[in-house]
């Protein structure tokens, strides 16, 4: 408890982190209560009101099909937060497992790190595009593509943490006392790896949300009429002259969420250990 309060004291000294936390909390509220907050259905067409500028009736205006942009941005929050959080959880579990095995069992390290090197040989976006081409458009396909993209970096990060922790004297002592490998990993190594994993995960959530938006912008991510922010920006591209608001508001939504996660991640890193090389 003392460690947690000490960490919290250091964390809240960073004003940007508090702002980031408030903004993320705000987004979570929108994601959870979106259906009750949104003034209109996000997919209902109001053809007679198409390409309306922001007004009292449509706060963020309407798109080419008369759909309310504000409602679509609100519903899009659920999509982006779901993709961001689920992909991080899956990345931590799969990538973290690979990293722990590679770091702890030296005879498996070479094989696992070779697999990681092969995955890292692809530029991130191209790997995601390749996976989406196989799986086809859809939210779960995007989650899988984004997860696969980050597995190698998680593996490497966790492996390097495990490599340093496993040489500590208390690990040797545990081994000498007859603890099994599983017990050492779960009771000693993983708890000490938690901090860098937490920092790295927070920094990666923003990038995962960005990547999902990129895939949808390119037309291979979340399919229409699901209101994904990247796709909304792509749709707005064709109406920049007459209705620039269509592309503007979803972009601002992406930016604010991603920068908030990045501010939290930066401050977490400084609060936990400024010398942490992440």
């Amino acid at each position: 408890m003392l460690a947690v309060s000490y960490f919290w004291k250091r964390f809240k000294r960073h004003k940007p982190a508090i702002v980031g936390l408030i903004v993320v909390f705000f987004y979570i509220i929108i994601a959870v209560f979106g259906p009750y907050i949104a003034p209109y259905d996000p997919v209902t067409l109001h053809i007679e009101d198409r390409l309306q500028k922001p007004s009292a009736k449509y706060l963020f205006g309407t798109d080419a099909f008369g759909r309310d942009i504000l409602s679509r941005v609100i519903y899009g929050t659920r999509i982006s937060m779901t993709i961001g959080i689920l992909s991080i959880l899956m990345g931590v579990v799969i990538g973290g497992t690979m990293g722990v095995i590679a770091g702890y069992f030296s005879y498996l390290e070479r094989i696992i790190m070779f697999v990681v090197d092969v995955l890292l040989a692809f530029p991130s976006i191209l790997l995601a595009i390749g996976v989406m081409t196989i799986l086809g458009p859809g939210i779960y396909s995007v989650i899988i593509a984004v997860t696969i993209r980050q597995i190698p970096s998680f593996s490497r990060m966790v492996r390097s943490v495990v490599l340093s922790v496993k040489n500590y004297e208390y690990i040797e002592a545990a081994r000498a006392l007859g603890s099994s490998n599983a017990r050492i990993i779960f009771k000693s190594i993983l708890p000490n790896s938690f901090a860098p994993i937490l920092v790295y995960s927070t920094l990666q959530i923003g990038w995962n949300i960005l990547l999902a938006a990129i895939l949808s912008f390119l037309g291979i991510g979340v399919p229409p009429p699901i209101p994904e922010w990247g796709r909304m920006v792509a749709e707005g591209r064709n109406f920049l002259r007459q209705a620039p608001h269509i592309a503007t508001f979803p972009g601002i939504a992406i930016f604010l969420l991603v920068i908030s996660f990045n501010m939290i991640g930066d401050s977490l890193r400084d609060a936990i250990d400024p010398k942490l090389k992440i």
Binding site: P123, L126, G130, T133, I134, F217, V233, R237, I259
Partner: protein, 325 residues
């Protein structure tokens, strides 16, 4: 004794370089296998796609046999690799054009975009990073750090579209897309400004942070204190002594980012209708053009891996403090 040490270091360096090259070859072989398998997992029948929806089963079977698609996967892979070695990347299913010719035509555009973006990001990022480190904790430091955070957080496709809105629609100063007949003119350069800023924007932020942290480490060194004590002008100390020592990790990072720019060019080329390889790949994805997808991802990955290898090896020559064992 000293000669023995030098010879030993040289031997270790050569061994390290050879090990990296062998590792890279192994990675590239696995990458080619993975891409081949990925493409074969894409739903749909390429033979049916070529023949058309109205073709008979016999026509589809005949096309499948001509293309070797009825052979075992291993044979198909070996035939494909034999073609790669000869420089034959196959033909597009949609246009029937040679993919190698198409890549030769398009690659210069992608390379131009990547090179200028890295240059732009390097110059701006280093300047911001140096000022940020020299005026640590000042308003400028906080401003540049916030700028770098914004840089990595803002979606680059959105910033590209916003710049089109501002500089092409509202203030018609710059073209919204396409390429000029020649880049070697003022009119030609105007076409590259927005795409370069869009692609390089994200890297500026990271370069700023890296330069700042690298400069802060170097500025605290004794030799900088000595330079100040000798009465050298501050600007000379910062740019001639400190930056020269701090720039190495930044240059390495920029080299690696060149590979990132090759992949990230897909987005920029889409926003600005830039006729590069990224757009060619995306069109291939839309058309389910398997040979195009397979070949372009393979070529991109090879370039990415080779760039990383060159950076790794050049580092062994540049920094004598590295140990190779």
């Amino acid at each position: 004794m000293a000669l023995n040490i030098i010879l030993n270091e040289r031997k270790l360096m050569i061994n390290y370089i050879l090990r990296r090259i062998m590792q890279t070859i192994a990675v590239l072989i696995c990458v080619s296998v993975l891409i081949f398998l990925m493409v074969h997992m894409i739903p749909g029948d390429p033979a049916r796609q070529i023949a058309g929806m109205d073709a008979t089963e016999e026509q589809v079977t005949s096309i499948r046999q001509n293309l070797g698609l009825d052979r075992p996967l291993l044979i198909q892979y070996l035939r494909y690799m034999r073609g790669i070695v000869k420089g034959d990347l196959g033909r597009s299913l949609r246009t029937r054009a040679l993919i190698s010719q198409e890549l030769k035509r398009r690659f210069p555009y992608t390379i131009i975009l990547a090179v200028f973006s890295v240059f732009f990001a390097g110059v701006l990022g280093v300047i911001f990073g140096v000022f940020s480190s020299v005026w640590k904790y000042s308003f400028f430091d906080h401003f540049f750090m916030m700028f770098s955070l914004v840089g990595v957080s803002i979606p680059n496709f959105w910033i590209g579209i916003m710049m089109i809105l501002l500089f092409s629609v509202k203030l018609p100063l710059l073209p919204s897309g396409g390429v000029p007949k020649s880049f070697l003119s003022v009119a030609g350069v105007r076409y590259i400004i927005l795409p370069v800023i869009t692609l390089g924007w994200t890297i500026v932020g990271m370069v700023t942070r890296l330069t700042r942290s690298s400069m802060l480490e170097v500025i605290q060194q004794d030799f900088i204190r000595t330079a100040h004590a000798k009465g050298l002008p501050r600007i000379k100390v910062i740019f001639k002594h400190a930056l020269k020592n701090a720039i190495l990790p930044v240059v390495t990072y920029l080299g690696l980012q060149f590979g990132f720019c090759l992949g990230g060019a897909v987005i920029t080329e889409t926003v600005f209708s830039w006729p590069g390889v990224g757009r060619y790949l995306l069109q291939g994805v839309y058309d389910r053009d398997y040979p195009v997808i397979q070949s372009t991802i393979l070529v991109f990955s090879c370039l990415f891996v080779m760039t990383n290898l060159v950076i790794d090896i050049s580092y062994t020559f540049i920094d004598p403090r590295i140990r190779y064992n």
